[in-house]
Symmetry: C2
Subunit: 245 residues, 2 copies
Amino acid sequence: MTSNTKPTLNTCLSPALLQLYDLSNSIVVIIDVLRATSTIATALYNGAKAIVPVDSVAECIRIGKQIEAITAGERDGQIAEGLGYGNSPFEYPNEFIQGKTLVLTTTNGTKLLHMALDKGAPEIITGSFPNLSAVSDYLLSQKKNVVLACAAWKDKVNIEDTLFAGAVISKIKNEFAINCDSSQIADTLYNCAKPDLYEFMKSHDASHYHRLSNFGLEKDIRFCLEADGSPVLPMYRDGKLIKHP
Amino acid sequence: MTSNTKPTLNTCLSPALLQLYDLSNSIVVIIDVLRATSTIATALYNGAKAIVPVDSVAECIRIGKQIEAITAGERDGQIAEGLGYGNSPFEYPNEFIQGKTLVLTTTNGTKLLHMALDKGAPEIITGSFPNLSAVSDYLLSQKKNVVLACAAWKDKVNIEDTLFAGAVISKIKNEFAINCDSSQIADTLYNCAKPDLYEFMKSHDASHYHRLSNFGLEKDIRFCLEADGSPVLPMYRDGKLIKHP
């Protein structure tokens, strides 16, 4: 297979750059490592029926009542007022989440997912270290163009989402045409960090590491940087994320 | 000096992210390594009186006539119609540029400089590998907040501007408070690449390496990645870049 016939792979490091990428013919991978997409993978792996991502606490409460679902979301490290649960993957073990629907409000990840929909993305999946191989294997199997879309933090590029993009790239790059400096940067960053992602985040004072560790969430961070603990592929269909296939 | 009293350092990887940064109290370093800011440093070092950065070819021609200056700029790797010279630092040796004013039109770098002005940046300098130490030493001497602003390529993050931001960071980071993941990413990238920046650009198929080498400009690329060949500090004052002090 020559590079001309390979599908393309691009990385978008911030939602504020999404308009630069053509999503119309691509699989878009939404990446919000700390912690939205890690929690989504974990809840689905542990048996959740579906996850409904919503923008606001108010909408989370409203939809939660409509469909009699669990509501979850945090603001500033606390469960938001009116919601039942938080953003930690540890809140969603099998014995709790099996067969249930979770309405989840997050800021960066949900916003990006809705932006990708608005831009006409035909297929959206979510990625995080807990489902790294599931995402990578799926992308390899589909042979379609890919956009790795980092949720970042209030539009600022962050280390952890860039690292995850790099982890995917390092697994699949031989099968894609990559004419994208952001992908090369992510791949290089991941190769530097991979001996110990947690230590890399800590020693580079990643802003999100700082934020979450101030809330006592080192355990969450470690889990969210560990590959393949929740091997499942979350796919967006009809307003919700469900396990594929 | 504790970290609380150190000035801050932030890196903006694309003009499309500039609105996320507070420029009002910062020195802004405009970075457009291939080739605008490298050529600016080189022309000033070789004796140019001033460089007037303008957005368009039409404005370049108009101002060039007004002030009887040399006009320069390229579009798609060719000297733009109506202008006298191109974007290569090799076009501006001392025997040609000494005492003259150069009106230079570039796309990414000029746009970013004007954005920074619009956002109220009180002080703007330009940075590139040929004047790496001059920029770094100046930033160290001023003890003010710094924003390293990458011109990128049509708003897409690029490797070479990120590398230069990383090179500055690696020189000055101990004297600044860095709560900025983009800066950490740039620093890490530079540390990976620094044994051979040219080889890094080539082996990672940097999009701009690709573009310029297709025009036969490997010599330009090598020059623009070499540190301290044009040790000068270009500072923006009253519509033009002049040598400081």
